[in-house]
């Protein structure tokens, strides 16, 4: 039998071009968007790289590439900040949303600032979820099942009594950072009140 090359071999092309072939060194790359597309349908794949990071499809990327990507893309995101607001840390992640018809994880980039915690989506550039630090009074990490594997998720207890459920790529560190920011914010508010007296 003879090998063929036809239009219907588009699937072979996809498999090769998205999954195989050389990728560039992290110092040079602008993008290696092709790498992680394996195993997702094209529609999901083109939803954007942040989304794929959220769903763990970038495991093929080594740490260096990920770091590069985070650095590179953070630059391109025009994040709205208040004048006195400083970013403490950020992480890829998502928030559990049970508003609307369907319960879903909404992915984005978490920004922790000295004032608040918010989840930012680059496209179309919106804040998906936001909480002022002084409205958060407790943090708990819990194991949950996500797509058949266990992972740690972070529960936020709000002063209003509500609970938020979030996920971030490095949840332990992220929790610690939020904890520290909460303490700092608490102390600031105390100082502020003392001054007022």
């Amino acid at each position: 039998m003879r090998p063929s090359r036809q239009e219907c071999d588009i699937n072979d092309i996809l498999q090769k071009l998205l999954d195989k072939g050389l990728v560039l060194n992290a110092d040079l790359i602008v993008s290696v968007a092709g790498v992680p597309l394996l195993g997702v349908n094209l529609k999901a794949a083109i939803a954007g790289i942040e989304t794929m990071l959220e769903y763990g499809m970038m495991e093929a990327w080594d740490k260096r590439t990920r770091e590069w990507y985070e650095k590179e893309y953070a630059k391109k995101v025009a994040v709205p900040l208040a004048m006195d607001e400083e970013i403490i840390t950020k992480a890829f992640g998502s928030v559990w949303s049970n508003q609307g018809i369907a319960n879903t994880w909404k992915p984005g980039i978490w920004y922790l600032t000295n004032n608040r915690l918010f989840l930012w989506r680059k496209e179309p550039g919106e804040i998906i979820f936001e909480a002022p630090l002084d409205k958060i009074e407790g943090l708990t990490v819990q194991k949950e099942t996500h797509f058949k594997t266990e992972r740690d998720e972070l529960y936020l207890q709000f002063t209003s009594g509500e609970v938020g459920r979030i996920y971030a790529s490095n949840i332990g560190e992220f929790k610690e950072a939020i904890g520290n920011a909460l303490l700092a914010s608490l102390n600031r508010n105390k100082d502020h009140k003392n001054e007022m007296r």
Binding site: M1, L24, L37
Partner: protein, 268 residues
Amino acid sequence: MKEMKVIGETELGEGRYVYCVVNNVAKKSLGNIGIERAEVYTVPYKDIAAVVHACQSQPYQSRDANKVMGWILSHNDVVDGATEHFGTVVPFSFDAIVKGGDTTIKDWLREGYEKFKNELERLSQRAEYVVQIFSDQDKLVEKILVEDQALRELKEKIGKMPERAGYLFRRKFELGFNDACNAMRAKLVEEFASQIKEHVEEMEIERKISHLPENYKDKKLIAAFSCLVHKDNVRSLGQALGKISQEGYAVHFTGPWAPFSFVKLEEV
């Protein structure tokens, strides 16, 4: 209301979309055959060259699947064109973009020269072929039942039972069948691999195929291989596959492709 400031304005610079690296000495235009009709040309260093087009330093991304598909096909066309033109290519994945201009590309080729040259040498006269072997579900069941006495007996037992009473047994059969099916597949992969091996330079057993060919959708994929084949051996590989096909399997055999699965520079 607090005053807002905006951090990190988008800054786009010069970039080069890389299709592949080839043996070539001169700078040369290949015409407007690139993604979105970009002009594709070579950036040479010594006797090798990168096949690129000039773009902005940002990835090609779109929510329009057809558009992305178009880009991917264009990428493939350029790599095919380059193969025809220059012989051996070291192909890049879709959306590999170097930040910088031709000078950056030259520096990059200089740094990786040895690696590229070795790879071009190793891959010369060779191309990649896709081999996927499918079976009809029924044939697979039959084959498994012939070899597995316990399952066969279970099936006979179920056949004699009233519809409802058989539920647990049917479930037991299903589970047992799945295990047997996996074992059978593993065995067949080995068998096919040994039949193909002597005709290929290198072979990769694909564990996961993200995009299956349309015309085999109703069949079960048994084994998938990417093969690096010397041009003199394509015929004999075809004959080996012909034998497998005569045994009643459906064989998907495509190529020649640029050696996407066999470039081994890891990172360049």
